[in-house]
Symmetry: C2
Subunit: 198 residues, 2 copies
DNA sequence: GTCTATATTAAGATAGAC
DNA sequence: GTCTATCTTAATATAGAC
């Protein structure tokens, strides 16, 4: 039987990337050896170096592409001009995207310490851009008096912290369905930012 | 000049512990070698093994003592019976305690992957107890109709996620004073749980 | 593109002298 | 209690054959 083009066998570059992402997320960058990675891919260690300059480049590629794709995906996603809708869209987008890419997310949050100084700066810039995307929504909503927020920066960080924490415990077969989780978070975040009469 | 008892020179056991906590927090458990640790303490590597069975025992001791002390400190702290006061006390306590012990906190959140299975279970149990301490406050407040909370477990995790995230960015010389940070978070959390008329 | 073999360095841990 | 010396294993990375 002839090989179906590009279907049966993934190329090694892809496999290296997938294995690295999974292993780094599970055991941590520093704890994973190039031999372990090679064994997981199913090649010998020398082969890995055909696809990456060194171990650091592998980590940086994973984090950098993750952050870039995250920013691109959000820029494609958002459209509404109503502050509340924008915020809801962001919450849904963030949870969907992060839960679908748990390994990359985990790495992006946990492995900052293991980046070279130059690589660290680049990733931090991207992360900052993502935080700013949310803060812009809060700022616009505050100007329009749709939101009542004392400090948009703090609120931005609080919301992202609270949302990202979901990645550490959510399981598809857990007590709550994803839609329930999303609606709970939507309610909590809206309460945080909407004008109140207490 | 005679040595002042217990003042000038800390004993090696203490130094090993302090160095390990700082180095593990900065570089990650897996990335720190016993030689690096010894050098930081100012002894040779053989000496380290007079104070720990192995590297894993060092990590477990740091995490286990941190979690135990955290739980003890909270049990000493809380007293009020009014739900809103209890929650405010928890927020203040959590931020004060976590910001004062950033290294241990960082390790306790980042290095779970590097614990042996048995050690992991033990730490998870302690962490769960701490989460439960907050959830008990929310449950009691909900029963007393002081709080309006759809799902106390989700709200517990959201609050802890949002508070702990502060550790990653707060700096004593930053834009906001600690008291300002605390009051912003108090406001956000109270909005999340208080009955609303929107 | 992958393998084997190897260079080099460093890791965790222990034994025994002082 | 600390040091030096050492065992053993494993790490990153490269060279060169197939």
């Amino acid at each position: 039987m002839p090989r179906t083009i590009g279907s049966y066998s993934q190329n090694t570059r892809t496999l290296v990337r997938q294995s690295a992402e999974r292993l780094f997320a599970r055991h941590g960058y520093a704890a994973v050896s190039m031999r372990q990675l090679a064994s997981d891919v199913g090649v010998q260690v020398g082969t890995i170096y055909n696809y990456t300059k060194d171990k650091q480049a592998l980590l940086f590629a994973i984090m950098s592409e993750h952050m870039t794709e995250l920013l691109q995906a959000w820029s494609r996603e958002w459209q509404s001009t109503d502050p509340i809708d924008q915020l809801s869209q962001f919450l849904n987008f963030h949870l969907d995207y992060h839960l679908a890419r748990r390994d990359a997310v985990f790495i992006a949050y946990m492995e900052l310490r293991n980046l070279d100084a130059a690589n660290f700066e680049e990733i931090e810039t991207l992360r900052r851009q993502y935080e700013d995307a949310l803060e812009q929504i809060l700022i616009a909503g505050k100007s329009a008096k749709a939101f009542d927020i004392a400090d948009t920066r703090i609120t931005t960080l609080a919301i992202i912290g609270m949302l990202t924490e979901v990645v550490t415990w959510y399981r598809p077969d857990g007590r709550l369905k994803l839609d329930e989780v999303k609606s709970h978070y939507r309610e909590m975040v809206l309460r945080m930012v909407m004008p109140q009469t207490r």
